[in-house]
């Protein structure tokens, strides 16, 4: 298990070569990361499917807005039922807010009834830097051809108030709905809102 972790860290360092942030409309490079069950998850395994990346920090009030309301879990369930791969990504460095060990994350997922395909542990922040993930939450959508089609906020109301969720436009659902319907994504980028990702200093 520990060996596995070190192996994945070594591999993920290679990802740092792609220091340039990804741009909507362009293909994203492959990545691999270890999930909270110790499995290696490679983006290229999921070619042919839509993939959502959700940056996460369980202590951040913006993340808590979407989890304590059940909004994030609803989105995970709805879109996974429709064939979407959903990765929750945790880039908090050890000692900083949101950092979790694999068992802690599994306990959290269970307690919150969260149902991502997998939770990717990225304590070195390599995956976060590859995508230039800025906030928690910060959402990305990759289409079945491996092209980035959305990069931005979860919705249109940049607050910590749960009561704003109902009246906000959910950009992730909107983009997935449009892309699955063969239409162009009407809002392909937006300002991600939330706490800063707690990268290693």
């Amino acid at each position: 298990m520990k060996r596995n972790l070190w192996f994945s860290l070594a591999v993920s360092v290679l990802l740092a070569c792609f220091a340039q942030a990804q741009r909507v409309g362009e293909p994203v490079p492959d990545f691999q990361a270890t999930d909270s069950n110790g499995h290696i998850q490679k983006l290229s395994q999921y070619r042919g499917k839509f993939v959502v990346l959700e940056w996460h920090n369980n202590g951040c009030p913006y993340t808590r807005k979407h989890y304590e309301s059940g909004n994030m879990q609803r989105l995970q369930k709805e879109w996974r039922d429709r064939g979407v791969i959903w990765f929750t990504v945790i880039s908090s460095a050890p000692g900083l807010q949101g950092y979790v060990t694999a068992p802690e994350e599994n306990e959290y997922l269970k307690r919150m009834n969260a149902v991502p395909t997998a939770a990717l542990l990225d304590p070195q922040g390599d995956l976060g830097r590859l995508y230039a993930a800025k906030t928690t939450p910060h959402m990305f959508i990759i289409d079945p051809k491996g092209v980035l089609i959305y990069d931005g906020a979860i919705d249109s109301k940049a607050t910590t108030d749960q009561s704003d969720i109902a009246t906000a436009t959910n950009y992730v659902s909107q983009a997935l709905e449009e892309a699955m319907g063969g239409r162009p994504v009407s809002t392909p980028t937006s300002r991600p809102y939330g706490c800063s990702v707690k990268y290693a200093h």
């Binding site: 951040c60 990069d151 800063s196």
Partner: protein
């Protein structure tokens, strides 16, 4: 039973300490007035003064890579009108690879209030501000506060005891550029280039864009010197998918802030 109780309280202890860590502990907010009375039909400045604990910050109107600006909702007596926030220029708060725009230590968010023509002399008018704000250090805490200020109506007003904070904020408020200075903006490749002709030639410049997602907040802003002008190079945000026709923001030159609202030319593409 006792054993069980103590056991469960021990378990709850860390949650309890977390719950009481409120925004209030890291930022003191007060509603203050520049003058000691309201004069009918004469505008006055009120402000929300934030006193932030060392290491904590709150945000500018464009908060940068993360965070959220404070929002004020006024509850004013009949006939009173409130203007928008006069934002002092922010500091660039860097936690690589991210950069936020915000305030540390102390900031005053002033607002012009216009009272009506008809007010009863000697009456006390109550002004209420509802504030929502975010304070962050390495972690962020949202806060909400209701602030109240009551001022008497008089024919003439004097300075209040809070006048100094309004005066010390004044130099941080952006003003129009002096007539005779020239600034232009061009879009070139992955950069916006702001070219300035000032007297004397500016050397210490920093640009704060009003709109998020136009420039790459975390990228360094570099300066090149041309004959009789300087040029500030701003890397475009990778979220900017369409050309923009205008760029708005605040240019800080050697500690003085100037408003910028100029068209972006595509000619030099």
């Amino acid at each position: 039973m006792c054993f069980l109780l103590i056991g469960s309280m021990w378990f709850l202890w860390p949650m309890a300490t977390l719950a009481i860590d409120s925004a209030d502990q890291h930022a003191k907010l007060e509603l203050v007035s520049e003058q000691d009375a309201i004069v009918p039909h004469r505008q006055l400045r009120l402000g929300i003064r934030f006193d932030l604990e060392e290491g904590w910050h709150t945000y500018w109107i464009n908060p940068g890579d993360s965070g959220e600006p404070p929002r004020i909702e006024w509850e004013l007596p009949a006939g009173f009108k409130a203007g928008s926030i006069q934002w002092p220029y922010p500091s660039r708060l860097s936690t690589p690879p991210l950069v936020d725009y915000g305030y540390e230590h102390q900031v005053l968010l002033a607002v012009l209030i216009r009272p009506p023509r008809q007010l009863e002399d000697g009456a006390a008018e109550k002004i209420v501000a509802h504030i929502r704000y975010l304070v962050c250090r390495d972690v962020c805490i949202p806060g909400q506060k209701q602030l109240v200020l009551t001022l008497p109506v008089k024919a003439h007003a004097g300075a209040s005891s809070d006048l100094p904070v309004f005066e010390s904020t004044q130099p941080r408020l952006p003003k129009p550029m002096p007539a005779g200075w020239r600034i232009s903006a061009a879009s070139k490749g992955d950069e916006f280039q702001l070219t300035l002709k000032t007297r004397p030639l500016a050397r210490d410049l920093q640009f704060f864009p009003l709109e998020p997602e136009q420039i790459d907040t975390g990228a360094p802003q570099t300066l090149s010197v041309l004959p009789g002008a300087v040029r500030l190079h701003l890397k475009k945000s990778n979220h900017l998918l369409k050309p923009i026709s205008h760029i708005q923001g605040v240019m800080v030159i050697s500690g003085t802030a100037y408003m910028v609202d100029i068209p972006v030319s595509l000619a030099s593409r």
